[in-house]
Symmetry: D3
Amino acid sequence: MLRLATPDYLRFIQSQSLNATFGGGEANVAVSLANYGIPVDFVTRLPKNDIAEWCISELRKYNVGVENSVRGGERVGIYFLETGAVARASKVIYDRANSAIADIKPGMVNWEVIFKDAQWFHWTGITPALSQGAADACLEAVNVANKMGVTVSCDLNFRKNLWKYGKKAAEIMPALVEGCDIILGNEEDAEKVFDIKPEGFDVSNTGGEVDAAAFESVCVQLMQRFPRAKKVIITLRGSINANHNTWGGCLYSDKLYLSKTYDITHIVDRVGGGDSFMGGLIYGLITYPSDDQKALEFAVAASCLKHTIYGDFNLVTVSEVENLLKGDGSGRVSR
Amino acid sequence: MLRLATPDYLRFIQSQSLNATFGGGEANVAVSLANYGIPVDFVTRLPKNDIAEWCISELRKYNVGVENSVRGGERVGIYFLETGAVARASKVIYDRANSAIADIKPGMVNWEVIFKDAQWFHWTGITPALSQGAADACLEAVNVANKMGVTVSCDLNFRKNLWKYGKKAAEIMPALVEGCDIILGNEEDAEKVFDIKPEGFDVSNTGGEVDAAAFESVCVQLMQRFPRAKKVIITLRGSINANHNTWGGCLYSDKLYLSKTYDITHIVDRVGGGDSFMGGLIYGLITYPSDDQKALEFAVAASCLKHTIYGDFNLVTVSEVENLLKGDGSGRVSR
Amino acid sequence: MLRLATPDYLRFIQSQSLNATFGGGEANVAVSLANYGIPVDFVTRLPKNDIAEWCISELRKYNVGVENSVRGGERVGIYFLETGAVARASKVIYDRANSAIADIKPGMVNWEVIFKDAQWFHWTGITPALSQGAADACLEAVNVANKMGVTVSCDLNFRKNLWKYGKKAAEIMPALVEGCDIILGNEEDAEKVFDIKPEGFDVSNTGGEVDAAAFESVCVQLMQRFPRAKKVIITLRGSINANHNTWGGCLYSDKLYLSKTYDITHIVDRVGGGDSFMGGLIYGLITYPSDDQKALEFAVAASCLKHTIYGDFNLVTVSEVENLLKGDGSGRVSR
Amino acid sequence: MLRLATPDYLRFIQSQSLNATFGGGEANVAVSLANYGIPVDFVTRLPKNDIAEWCISELRKYNVGVENSVRGGERVGIYFLETGAVARASKVIYDRANSAIADIKPGMVNWEVIFKDAQWFHWTGITPALSQGAADACLEAVNVANKMGVTVSCDLNFRKNLWKYGKKAAEIMPALVEGCDIILGNEEDAEKVFDIKPEGFDVSNTGGEVDAAAFESVCVQLMQRFPRAKKVIITLRGSINANHNTWGGCLYSDKLYLSKTYDITHIVDRVGGGDSFMGGLIYGLITYPSDDQKALEFAVAASCLKHTIYGDFNLVTVSEVENLLKGDGSGRVSR
Amino acid sequence: MLRLATPDYLRFIQSQSLNATFGGGEANVAVSLANYGIPVDFVTRLPKNDIAEWCISELRKYNVGVENSVRGGERVGIYFLETGAVARASKVIYDRANSAIADIKPGMVNWEVIFKDAQWFHWTGITPALSQGAADACLEAVNVANKMGVTVSCDLNFRKNLWKYGKKAAEIMPALVEGCDIILGNEEDAEKVFDIKPEGFDVSNTGGEVDAAAFESVCVQLMQRFPRAKKVIITLRGSINANHNTWGGCLYSDKLYLSKTYDITHIVDRVGGGDSFMGGLIYGLITYPSDDQKALEFAVAASCLKHTIYGDFNLVTVSEVENLLKGDGSGRVSR
Amino acid sequence: MLRLATPDYLRFIQSQSLNATFGGGEANVAVSLANYGIPVDFVTRLPKNDIAEWCISELRKYNVGVENSVRGGERVGIYFLETGAVARASKVIYDRANSAIADIKPGMVNWEVIFKDAQWFHWTGITPALSQGAADACLEAVNVANKMGVTVSCDLNFRKNLWKYGKKAAEIMPALVEGCDIILGNEEDAEKVFDIKPEGFDVSNTGGEVDAAAFESVCVQLMQRFPRAKKVIITLRGSINANHNTWGGCLYSDKLYLSKTYDITHIVDRVGGGDSFMGGLIYGLITYPSDDQKALEFAVAASCLKHTIYGDFNLVTVSEVENLLKGDGSGRVSR
């Protein structure tokens, strides 16, 4: 997906140029993993035009395999981004209707071939939000992955401005999530998609500290509803303002693991923060299979760093994440 | 329509930003006329979002009325532009499907109200190329204009990469052009749309000098086919290379008028060249109603200057065009 | 007025380009109101050159009427802006001498015609600071407005580096302010212009929290001195450093109304902050004529948002201000 | 003088930034000479503000002495530049009224001290065009230079949009030119300032080849009128269009010397072309005192190169000019 | 190699930023081939730092394999580029001493493994110019390639400002060229490296048309001296000025094949022109093994297009080259 | 030294341009002093190429004498800078090997001539880290300065990634520091170079507040070891994160003087912070010879302002520093 963002905190109406990068939930996770040295393939559908070639070249640059993506359809999806500051929120305008991926249909991708040597399949709630075909193709992939023993993870990623094709998230998502081993969400997703609310927590609270304990209730409910899930993870963002957030997460498996909370006082770009969490989490779960706390902390530290990096992609290495995990968040010049 | 162009002759794959301006056939003509002091209104359909507000603000900046445009639909149409050089052609990638104007339907615009004090209605062949609805709405406007005695002009503007909704230009355009008093085209339009070819002229010739006399034959055939037309005008572009064109035009009414030919050796931006010709022509025909040669020369000089101006719009004044008409093309510093 | 600002916190001596926007007290207020949907006209004097056309086109872009401005004089006023950071203050260098507006004289503008259907006239203390002619023309306007029953508001806006034509603010301003229904100022204006000091408040204090109660004393003194005034409003800026301010205001009418205080931790551009307050206030007073608290809160929230927007103009809508008034200052991405 | 130029051939109305450099007739000549290794001092008057410091720092960067400039006055003069292309001329808008140098008065500069070890004094017709005071100060300098045996050169440099203080060039210039040993002008200056026309040459011709022979007549008339002048030099610009000029010159002393003519097909920046000619000429006359042809050719080659360099200053070295003089204008990569 | 180029024709001394791209003889050829769909691997030596990672990511972006490059050494080589205009030549300043590739030694690369499935090995005369080690490693590669039956091509690419390690090109190059099947050079290389001069051709002529027939003599002499060579190719550049070149080539195998000559009137970037010729030639020779004329024309057309593309790399597709071969150099907008 | 920095917090791998400025320990101190009106000369060694001329022109711009620098050698040293944010540290990649200054040898500079009218000589620990020759030349300078009675100061400035020529700082630095009257360092230098640790202070602590008292112990140990030293100064940086530091210093002479601590919440550029401290300190010690507290406070305030200025150089005036010393750190707009 092409991301077109106004530079320097400008509003759209003031701009004469747009910074052009590429992103999107699954692509962002793929780039994270490639940066950590994990072989990764991004499977999507792209038209045959120069905008698509541009997109592919950027993924290739960051070492993400793109050979399994299929070509066809009309256009590359776009989202416009106006970066906010302090009390003025960033604005995303989706322009994804009729994109090649929105026009995908089951059968277009040969999942059996793709999953042959694969260990893990990740999808996000943005894909089934685009169209019935995308939802169907996603379900097809989940089913094949389940059959072939590939671990499946998802990021619920509810976006109210998508889901325009006549179905509600609540109608489509359950079948998909049923096939997932790992579920990631934030505080709104569980409620908006599955009507699962924590007890004693007010989700209308949009800023400040969050009560992590309340999320245990959400996790437990999710795992009861989707018994295949072994782990449920929730990102915890405290939105002090558009430039200043706190950031952490919790993971529920045998019990609730709670991460360190980072104070991100001068955000460079928070879009893709959740995806960078997922990328760090997958790396962490693969690398520390028996240490959920460590996996979680890796995910949180990795995505804390994402907030300092422009664009959707999290361009950090394992050793940079580990430095932060060791406690060096002082930002002293490395020379 | 949002125009997203790579800067500095970069290819898409090399770019990190896109220059964002607005344009489109009818809007470009409107801006030309507003610059010449002619009150002008741009009627289109735009969605209710910030990209549309941005578009509207740019038109307002150049003094084009936008109050009669209707609001609704999903998205603002986009075209991507990669500016070529020498033997490498500029590339336009249309991303207009599903735009608000493509989804227009007859009845959405109240043409009777809009044409109330209007003198002139101009449309281009791009609009009916977008969708059946757009073609229908365009025909509706032409019919109302005819009924109300408003002069109608059109620019045939054939684009092979539009016309994707199942109809061919040859099926749709005749009914529309029948209502036109003034017809503008270039050397390909007449052939591609109406299969009208000059005798003794090879349209496959894409460079060098053109044989203006051959166009008389085209004009006469067009006027025979569309008897309402009082004047047929053809722009004459000699494409030496992407940076260097010759530029002129001919107008057929009672006889063939041939303009001076300009040598444009260092093109800044040639997109919108034909529209700036049309803008100059309408101004010329209104201002010099009994002097077709003068009207034509104004149109050619105005659009010669357009090639030196970035973006789709021709930002020149009447006095700047007149200076060139007086023969001062020396480009000496004015101080 | 042309604003030429160094980019990216550069000092003048380091720069190779200057960002060019337009601004100025009254223009800034006009743009705010236009954004809120209030029909508004900006009356000034501009020369006949391309810099003036540029200025006019920018105002038109933001929907401000400019037809009533008169043309003549030598130049467009300029101010140079070097944006500071932390302990380094921003620097404004005025280059306004001899500008068209500084050379205005009474009689050049036909105020009777302009005020015919007008409801409100706003001026700022910057205009009479430019020249005797500008002061005289301003007084002329105030007098006509008073005669025609148009509400008059002013922003005292004392600038020590203007007022160079041989008169002091204290000599010129009283006659002007006598015609005002609404008076806006900040903590320095009242003292520097009218020698009105709060009791128990040290105005040399340039940072930190301010004692709002002390301002009641200032308001009461101002209203006693200018009995036409129905409301006196004071903006309350706490300058922690160049990037971080607190922001609020108080309004005195029947009693003192005190606004919420906002913590603006990452200022994008604070120039025009006071003008955006005035724009919000006029909108608020018109929209909530019997609720001074609400009008004040609208003004403060609107101008809080201004600090996040580049340039002099406050490019926000009523609904964006209302969102903040509802308490959502979390800056969460809107998508 | 601060030069504010739109980037990338944009018109003012399209721009959001202006490139900021410094220039002006005498400063440009000074920079040329400093680049050729000639010790040089620029004497002007500048206010005490950061814009003036910025200007001074740029001159210092290019090795021009600035210690003898006096400080005072209100503002730094400005000129706005919109760069044209092909048939659209570049536009200069002067904003120099009330500048520190325009407010200079005789007696402000101690010419006796400045000329103590000086060999050469150069002034241009722009200075006396600014104000009576500037004309008087210029005359004072010429008189002192004459008295102290310092060679005096001038560039007539007629600008119709200056000369606004009530005097015509024809009234002021003769007394100044009388003190000059070397006079430089172009084809318009002699006519516009002294009503000296070549016989058989049509100065209204603004493009194409010029008849160099006709200039001999101008030179002879100038030398008869100003008997102190030992050499009269005329720059010969053929303006094919804004991007493409021919460039040469002729020098009359004992006879007419005519230079090679250069074909400058892709101009980068032609402002300052005449000044770079003068800089090259002074260097040439000093370096080859008995070879006027060589001095002239150096001047022409140096200023030919200027057309390839952005800004007012000619940033080339003696060896680069000499390479071109040797005939290498092929532009092959030097590596 | 990191290329740091001043933007917009600026001289170094005027710049505040440098455009950063990557290039170098062999890398440029590799990118060309990758764009034509030929699997290609770039073998070099790069240090372990972020500048090297940046370089690698750019090659990967354009689909060039980099896995076989070895890591070690101190720095990435740099070249600074100042882009000239008209009579001012572009300037390249090499800063390659001590780079990782300059410190390469035989044995560091396992050529047997690399050439296992390879069809073609290409090297340029720049590599042996860097150091004895680089020359030795290059010879090692040529020898292995010869042994393994891999076609070897070279571009003589003489650069006088390299060759600083105590050996002359004439001492080193013969042994290397002896192993080549295909030799590419321009008019200076043969003379400067092997003292082979055409009869009746004056190489000091730096501009205008070249006498292609004279090159036949050079080709024949080269083939006599290096009997392994099956084809000798010479690029023919006519340097009218820095913006305007003519471009063609000739190939000698069984006889002299002479290409069409292109008139490149508005060069965007000519650095890498020779490399793009080589890339096109290898593609042509592979694709049209029995049609040397066609291979040559492909090479010339491909590299003609390179002059319109910014950076060292030739970012064109086979179909774009073929369009030009079909005669469409008109630069008409493709839409 | 050429500094090449990615813009806008971009990582190297994302960049397409690098901001080019110049800097380096001693040069930065020189610019500070020149800004305070102290005549200053920068003595280095630079090659004869355009990059060196560029460097020299920038120093000249800021009024630093460069005539005593010697010319020769291969290249200008480079450092690459990637600016970090929050928990992501800035990264410096040195590319200084083989630079002209690294290849300096004793005898190349005539220190006797340079120090003739000099009052002060300053060097930094970066120079002896480059090469044995640079260390030897530095020692030569210190010895001559000592002999001629010139005050000598040094900044220990330990950089672990330099010191690659086979000697350790601990082997080279003592002889150099023995000749110093004033020693500046930070909390790591003393330990890393001289193994001097404070008692009760944990240097591995990279963030937060520091225990100033502990530094007294370091100062006393340094003065005992280097008895010529009259004053030892330590900069105290609290690294909260890459955007937010606290900043202060302490000076030990007759007793420990501790400065005010500044809270720098929105750092623009912290590179060169220590050098700006040294520049301020030298100015302070010269200006207030008997008031160490005042000298120290000047140094701290000056370098606090440096953090708000882009590039290595501290571009502030004495009066701007004094404003901050008077307590005005509010950042209110100066107009």
